[in-house]
Amino acid sequence: MTLRITAAVLVGRAVRVAARLRGGGSAIPGKIAMTIAPNFLEETISRIPQGVVAVSGSNGKSTTTNMLAAVLRAHGLVVFTNPSGGNLPQGIASAVLSEVSLSGRLNADIAVLEIDEGYGIGLTTLLKPRTVLLLNIQIDQLNRFHEPERVVNMLRGVAGAATRNLILNRDDNHLVDLDTKIPASAARSVTFFGADPALIEGAAHGVASAQRFGDSRIAAGSRLAAVTVSSLGPSSAVLSTAEASFPVRLPSRGLHYALDAAGATAAARAVLGQAFDTSLVTTALEGLATVYGRGELLTIGDESVEIIMMKNPASLQLNLDALETAPEQVFLAVDEGTPDPSWIYDIDLSALDHVDLITGSKANQFAVRLRYAGIPVGGVDLDIRNAVKKFLALPKPSRGRKTMILNYEQMMLIRNSLGFKDLEGGAK
């Protein structure tokens, strides 16, 4: 078997080099490695001594994985992780390729892996995570998942795969009692994270958790949390455990980012046990770079451009809720990566007082929505490059910041076209 792994590493790496020279296709090398050695992921990742932490949910996977890896590193662990967006099997395999030895060994104490919901059951069957951290279940990709209940079922399977620790968001309608919906295991401890109820009530749309119908349940928020968000600042929060309260820096404004930090902290606490140190959480999150499009600020010429990613209704709503004032110059780009934008009619867009320019194949549908909400639209230009050029040519805003609201595909395209060439999903 080792020979086969070695072959997979060699060929995968050659493909990786070729793919990078052409400037794309970061998941392809991993796919090829898995074709050569079907057990590529198990053989490499299962040898990591402290096992796998799997992070999943509708929103915040990349941010939280990034936070958790940083916190564990601050505690002295060598962490193997997948770069944001590389959360399908081939993406994880590509990440392995960039670090694995020819014999298939990864130099890591622990793996922290962002896991796509749809591939969650398959991946956790392969990777047998010791720890599972589930963030939220929100209305997301109905074109792909059809109904939120299917996501609930998938994440129930992921939760049930946790052998040691299961960490759940108590403020999520579906996760609050997910531990009672999976086969019990004496070896598995369950902990919760959440936010002070006043913070959730104070947020314009709460945590945007998917509504739950039918079955008997307990109310979101009603579990005792090991880590809570106890206060929230513009880009910082205070987290509390039973023993201590400590400040953390957040990638951007918003309760959702604070909950991501609480989830990462609760997972670190479960993994590290006695070694867990809250001051190291503060240190780790202080020095963290933002993940693409999650509250990221790009510098283009002498201007700063804030990127707001709209992955799904919840992420757009929470990011809009977190705006302090209506942004001065707004660009919107949405394409086929958002096949069914119907959900924009569920979103409260009142945080925007106008949009300057819309592009992408769904641009006209967004213009209709905005106009029905009474929000002025400067115009639509379906030529994406042209639209970006026009927007960047607008006079520098008085508050010094342009705002781009983009779906994932448009974010990657526009980042790339502006010269930010480092790709998500595997290439380093």
Partner: protein, 244 residues
């Protein structure tokens, strides 16, 4: 004669997923921009039924929500049938359309009784169809998004239109929805009225006609702007429809 359009929105707490409430907003905004007042009444389980209604709307949701919504719909089934008999226009979307039909046969074989407003039956199952949806109707091209895990039998009734992209009621039928008299049921999402303002205007004009009021056709700049964007949205979808 009053100038208020009264819209009955059935079970919005359960059947309001994926932007479907946008249809009510579109009807409301269009009527308001033409100078009409609009009152939206929400009908939930246990509410008294308001008969003085000009238009009935029901949205969609997942099967779990459909099951929860069904008793609330059955409570008022005969009232709804009476409104339909009186010619009150209905717009019913997907899960809501199915619940206003005769029955919904679930994947496990159990049968959910419907309100019997639409003489159609639904069977959950078959291949999941997900993608852009283009239908040629008597109002021209209607576009939307199809996300369907069931088939609807409408018998010999008139459909909303002929499918030019997507599946429609069944794999073989080649037609979408049900449109007989003033009753419209469809699986066009989008929400359907957002990108197809002609259908919204038709519903409003039929609703007003019953009261002897003519729906205004004066040019409203804000609606003209919206409708230009909607026409472009239809053009873009119809020119290059995609599915999963």
């Amino acid at each position: 004669m009053r100038e208020t359009v009264r819209i009955l929105h059935l079970v919005p707490s359960t059947l309001g997923q994926n932007g479907e409430t946008g249809n009510v907003m579109v009807l409301t905004r269009r009527a308001e921009l033409h100078g009409l007042a609009v009152e939206v009444l929400q009908q939930e389980a246990g509410d008294e039924f308001p008969f003085d209604i000009d238009l009935v709307y029901i949205g969609s949701g997942p099967v779990s929500a459909q099951i929860v919504a069904q008793p609330a719909i059955l409570e008022v089934a005969s009232d709804l049938r009476q409104l339909a008999d009186e010619g009150v226009p209905f717009l019913a979307i997907a899960a809501g359309f199915q619940l206003l039909g005769e029955s919904v046969t679930m994947a496990d074989g159990s049968v959910l009784e419907g309100a019997g407003v639409f003489p159609v039956t639904t069977t959950v199952g078959g291949v999941r169809v997900v993608g852009d949806f283009v239908v040629e109707s008597r109002l021209g091209t209607l576009v939307g998004f199809e996300n369907r895990g069931s088939v609807v039998e409408i018998g010999a009734a008139t459909p909303v239109g002929t499918v030019t992209y997507g599946q429609g009621n069944t794999v073989e039928s080649g037609v979408e929805g049900y449109w007989v008299g003033n009753l419209v049921g469809t699986h066009l999402h989008g929400p359907v009225l957002a990108n197809n303002p002609g259908l919204a205007d038709w519903l409003l004009s039929v609703a007003l006609e019953r009261r002897g009021v003519v729906y205004p056709t004066d040019a409203v700049p804000e609606l003209e702007e919206i409708d230009r964007y909607a026409a472009e949205a239809r053009r873009v979808i119809a020119a290059g429809p995609l599915s999963e």
